[in-house]
């Protein structure tokens, strides 16, 4: 069963490389933000697959934490682009 997880991991890394093309090239800043957010969500699933390959069940906690960090980062970038500042101090 470990070979199945290995194949899935390789497919996910290949799709990340496809998204990197749009992150480097996309005209303007919005394309780049969308591509970075997508690479972040794919990294969460990649962490789970690696946890199954190396047989360490602790990787699921790290995946949960990184999903939350990625979500907050995307919302912060959207708020900054609309208003010009993040917090009114």
């Amino acid at each position: 069963m470990i070979e199945t997880f290995l194949v899935i991991g390789i497919i996910i890394v290949f799709t990340m490389l496809l998204c990197l093309y749009r992150a480097a090239l996309g005209p303007g800043v919005y394309n780049r933000i969308a591509a970075t957010s997508i690479i972040g969500t794919k990294a969460v699933v990649l962490l789970i697959a690696i946890g199954y390959i190396f047989e360490r069940p602790m990787f699921v906690d790290i995946a949960l934490l990184y999903a939350m960090l990625n979500f907050v980062g995307t919302l912060l970038m959207a708020k900054y682009l609309v208003r010009g500042e993040v917090c009114t101090a």
């Binding site: 069963m1 990340m16 496809l18 303007g28 919005y30 699933v45 699921v60 979500f71 959207a78 708020k79």
Partner: protein, 104 residues
Amino acid sequence: MHSIDLIATVLMAFGAFFMFTGALGLLRLPDFYTRLHATGKCDTLGEVLLIVGCMVYQGWSFLTIKLFFLMLFIFIANPVATHAIMKAAYVTGVKPWKKGEERR
């Protein structure tokens, strides 16, 4: 048990197929709004299917509950992030693409 392995492999294969389609949509589609359609939806569903496959493979244990909470969080958080980025682009003034124009 051989049949549970087969069901889990089929679910994970569908999940990987949807994620690949989402990334392909990022390359092919002609405009920013349509690219968000491809990634925000196909990507989320692909991840949910993949995590359901891992849950089926694991059986009944504590790891299944952690994976279930991760799936719930991704299911609710990804559409909210997509909507936030799209609203920021619309308010700032990015123009949508109609049929017949050139690629941007």
